[in-house]
């Protein structure tokens, strides 16, 4: 296609001018464009979708000073115990004297989310105050359970919640229901 006319050599073509055949300069760009868009799609998806999300979590300040600690009303405290096999047990009130019997639930829309929403409504109607949720993960629960339950709390828009250490009677409760 592209030949250089060296001029001075002049050996082969005596007399006659070397004329290359005029060809069209148009190249078919379609496959190139295809490739380009493929790469664009790839880079767009990897840059914007791969970025992880950050869930902010504030823990209660560990203060040994007893005077600063406030007791919470047991009538509006819902305790969620995270057991194994992705199950949750919840009750309202104190562990030795629960206002509602401890119930085992699943995670997700029809399980714990419904329970939280129902109870939040009930307590709002009864006391005029918001529900307080205490999350107590047991040693048998995993990290995904913790994130899932925090997510449910965010979805149900519970404003007051805390992650608290689990106590012996509560572990006993989980054992009784076979999720520890």
């Amino acid at each position: 296609m592209a030949e250089l006319d060296t001029g001075g050599g002049g050996g082969k073509h005596k007399g006659g001018k070397v004329r290359s055949k005029k060809q069209s300069t148009r190249v078919d760009m379609t496959p190139m464009v295809d490739l380009m868009f493929l790469l664009i799609t790839f880079f767009m998806l990897t840059t914007t979708l791969a970025k992880p999300q950050a869930m902010d979590l504030a823990m209660p300040d560990k203060n040994d000073n007893k005077q600063d600690q406030l007791d919470v009303a047991d009538t509006r405290t819902m305790t969620l115990l995270l057991g194994n096999k992705n199950r949750i047990e919840w009750y309202i009130g104190l562990v030795d004297n629960p206002k509602t019997p401890p119930t085992v639930e699943n995670y997700g829309k029809d399980g714990i989310r419904k329970a939280i929403l129902d109870k939040a409504k009930e307590i709002k109607a009864a006391t005029g105050k918001d529900l307080i949720v205490l999350v107590k993960p047991s040693d048998k629960s995993n990290y995904r359970n913790l994130v899932d339950i925090l997510d449910e709390i965010k979805i149900t828009n519970v404003q007051q919640y805390a992650i608290v250490d689990i106590t012996e009677p509560e572990i006993g409760l989980l054992k009784r229901d076979g999720i520890y």
Binding site: D28, M29, T30, M32, V33, M36, F37, L39, I40, F43, M44, T46, T47, L49, A50, K51, P52, Q53, A54, M55, D56, L57, A58, M59, P60, D61, K62, L82, G108, K109, P137, S138, D139, K140, S141, N142, Y143, R144, N145, L146, V147, D148, L150, D151, K154, I155, I163
Partner: protein
């Protein structure tokens, strides 16, 4: 009646302009993309519905998976400052070459006494699974755990260099048992870090 002849036109379109646009966009996306750093410990983060992105600077990430704990800070100057402080604390001398190499490591997870060997390895060898056994979480006698020290020095370094509070994020594996996560939270709370982020990936509402 004469027939009306429609002139046949070529179906080929000039693709040059389209090609121009495509390559312009491609160049843009390649330049803005940040290359994914290889991690010594790959974790499968749980999903959540939150939509807040992880900040790019002044953040320390504690990676938890398979019972091991890794730690990494953003920013090379902060990493060097952190290593110097840790060297002073544990009486280990690091050469400038080692500091330079350490500043390029995204995260690490070894006992500080083995850190020199890890620094000496090449990037690919370093990230072989099973080589780095995680930063010790348990306190020895009166002195706090190494994880505690790393975090503390990283926070000081961030404050000194960028004059900002370092954010702490925990990147845990979905299957990680809660006690390991609890240990990390306890270490954070001991330093009065009560607010931190959990790194999750995206999920739908249900």
């Amino acid at each position: 009646m004469p027939k009306v002849k429609v002139p046949r036109k070529s179906t080929a379109i000039d693709m040059t302009a389209m090609c121009d646009v495509a390559s312009l966009l491609l160049t843009f996306f390649i330049l803005t993309a940040t290359a994914r750093q290889p991690e010594p410990l790959t974790v499968d983060t749980p999903t959540s519905t939150v939509k807040i992105k992880v900040p790019e600077t002044d953040i320390g990430t504690i990676t938890v998976g398979e019972g091991k704990v890794f730690f990494g800070v953003k920013g090379q100057d902060i990493r060097i400052a952190m290593l110097e402080k840790m060297g002073e604390r544990y009486k280990i001398q690091f050469t400038p070459e080692e500091k330079k190499r350490f500043s390029l490591m995204e995260s690490f997870g070894v006992d500080i006494h083995q850190l020199k060997q890890i620094i000496a390895l090449s990037g690919a060898d370093r990230n072989k699974p099973g080589l780095q056994q995680g930063i010790p979480l348990d306190s020895v006698g009166q002195s706090p755990s190494q994880m505690h020290e790393w975090l503390y020095q990283a926070r000081i370094a961030t404050k000194e260099i960028n004059d900002k509070q370092m954010r702490v994020s925990i990147k845990g594996d979905s299957k990680e048992q809660y006690p390991t996560v609890k240990k990390i939270i306890d270490i954070l709370q001991k330093q009065k870090v009560n607010k931190f982020s959990l790194i999750t990936s995206l999920e739908g509402m249900d």
